[in-house]
């Protein structure tokens, strides 16, 4: 049945669509980025503006991931283990960042913390700039990646066997010890998955960051913003090289994650 004419037609046409839509553009980007040679590629990466943009992207993504790993796990924990008023509404609203377009996210943060807002004025008086500064970038990344760790840890926590925790408690272990020695080792893979997905997403985030970052080279210009700027100013090779680095990092993370998960299942 698998090789009947209709099955063959279905397979060929879907694979052709996939080839034209995904493989062709990716191949075009990669070959053109490396076309002028490795030396030119290296030059374009180590260009001070490109290098700083890449460093800023990785640094802000790392800060975001560190916060999200802790707060995401805590949020999943609270949602699964405890009852409190408003819990079901909160659970439904966790996915809000997936529904909100990224430009709108940026605009929300500007509306709240921007120089013309009440909160922004108060913070500005104390010398704490958020919008058009680096903290704004981290804040935007925290918003758009908020659901990843929670939605990755929650199902594991729901299925966890409470028996082991209870046994540990009967043997006299304190709650924190139980979490560290019994619960955390089971949760750890799902926390890793969530943070890896969040990190990979953060490397490419543009819409929200461009609204809050203020676009100052060597200060608040991230990798994707650099790519956009170079396209606009006609330096296509510079744009492609930084794109290739970001793309390879995202892909590397996702492929590694996949391999780890496969290794665990076998």
């Amino acid at each position: 049945m698998a090789n009947s004419p209709p099955a063959l037609i279905l397979r060929t046409s879907t694979l052709a669509y996939l080839g034209v839509m995904v493989v062709l553009p990716l191949t075009a980007l990669t070959t053109q980025a490396f076309e002028p040679g490795l030396a030119r590629f290296g030059q374009a990466v180590t260009d001070p503006f490109a290098w700083h943009a890449l460093k800023l992207t990785f640094a802000t993504a790392l800060v975001m991931v560190a916060i999200n790993a802790v707060m995401g796990t805590a949020t999943a924990w609270v949602l699964v283990r405890y009852d409190f008023p408003g819990k079901s509404i909160m659970n439904a609203l966790i996915d809000l960042p997936f529904a909100v377009p990224t430009v709108v996210t940026g605009l929300m943060l500007v509306a709240l913390y921007g120089p013309s807002s009440t909160l922004g004025t108060i913070l500005g008086r104390h010398g704490w700039g958020i919008i058009y500064e680096q903290p704004g970038i981290v804040l935007a990344l925290l918003f758009v990646t908020y659901p990843f760790v929670i939605r990755s840890v929650q199902p594991v926590l729901l299925e966890i066997d409470r028996g082991e925790e209870e046994a540990a408690a009967t043997l006299g272990a304190r709650p924190w010890t139980i979490f560290r020695r019994v619960t955390f080792p089971t949760l750890y893979p799902s926390i890793l998955t969530g943070t890896a997905l969040a990190f990979s997403r953060a490397l490419g985030e543009f819409g929200s960051v461009v609204m809050v970052a203020g676009n100052r080279p060597l200060e608040t210009k991230t990798g994707p913003m650099y790519v956009f700027g170079e396209i606009e100013s006609g330096n296509r090779h510079g744009a492609m090289v930084v794109s290739a680095v970001l793309l390879a990092s995202s892909l590397g993370i996702l492929v590694t994650l996949n391999l780890i998960q496969r290794g665990r299942k076998v």
Partner: protein, 283 residues
């Protein structure tokens, strides 16, 4: 009685878990809820009339019409592809299947800006395919076909990813029964397969629509930075902010975010409602 209740309340407030709940709820409120409310507040600052005027301005209406058109087109194409490709991945064995399975997910790893750049490289005026398409008189980049292509690229994995697991779980037993009873290919698909994968499909379509409505980076690159360019809703928001007309941007943002959110929540509620009703009927 009341003193007992008071004591219990107090002890429950001072338990360490209450502290954790408090921290988590505060974090959620500060990070997600307050910015959302700040946006709504800003959009309605001057009352409902300026809000409506901003939404009903001809630029905003044209931008929303384009967004809806692109979304409809991208959703139809990627739903058909997603269904077909999920069937191929689950039901067929062929050389390179695992690779094809991995390639479907690639758009998730690509920054929207990079997606736009790739399309310019392939379909731009000096691009791999762009020059030959241009000689046929087809302009892709800096025009609406490019915007559709960009949206198709970023939403390509959603339907496949949602349908594959439900299709795998469904198996082929029921289909074989239907075939044995004399149902043709199409009839089996419409009456047996499709009804059992409908929620996976519905969820995939909803995610596709929500993402299409909100796509920005790829469209920004593909549409070119031309004054008075064709605007989608997200480009309209960006351009009005850049042009210091924030009223339009805030109003359009509230509408766009509202539509996506209602779609996602609505799908979840509809599913619960239908499942409860159907389990009631079967009893």
């Amino acid at each position: 009685m009341s003193s007992v209740g008071g004591k219990r309340l107090r002890s429950s407030i001072f338990r360490p878990q209450s502290l954790l709940i408090g921290v988590v709820v505060l974090w959620f409120a500060a990070l997600i809820l307050v910015p959302t409310l700040a946006l709504a507040n800003k959009a309605l600052e001057g009352g409902f009339r300026p809000f409506w005027n901003a939404i009903l301005s001809s630029d905003a209406r044209r931008a929303f019409a384009l967004t809806i058109g692109i979304t409809a087109l991208a959703t139809v194409v990627n739903t058909l592809f997603g269904l077909a490709f999920a069937m191929v991945l689950v039901r067929q064995r062929f050389w390179g299947r695992a690779l094809a399975d991995g390639i479907v997910d690639l758009p998730f790893a690509v920054s929207p800006i990079i997606a736009g750049l790739m399309l310019v490289i392939v379909y731009g005026p000096n691009g791999w395919l762009g020059s030959s398409l241009a000689s046929l008189g087809w302009r892709v980049v800096y025009s609406w076909p490019g915007m559709v292509l960009a949206t198709l690229f970023v939403t390509l994995p959603f339907v496949v990813r949602e349908v594959v697991p439900v299709l795998r779980e469904f198996g082929i037993d029921q289909e074989e029964v239907a075939r044995t009873l004399g149902a043709g290919r199409w009839r089996t698909f419409w009456q047996v397969t499709l009804p059992s994968i409908r929620w996976g499909l519905a969820y995939g379509v909803t995610l596709t629509v929500a993402r299409s409505l909100g796509e920005f980076g790829a469209l920004l690159v593909v549409s070119g930075n031309i004054l008075g360019r064709t605007q989608t809703a997200t480009l309209y928001i960006h351009d009005t902010i850049e042009g210091f007309e924030p009223e339009g941007a805030y109003a359009a943002s509230v509408v766009l975010a509202g539509i996506s959110f209602v779609l996602l929540i609505g799908m979840e509620q509809l599913r619960k409602y239908v499942e409860v009703r159907e389990s009631g009927q079967s009893e």
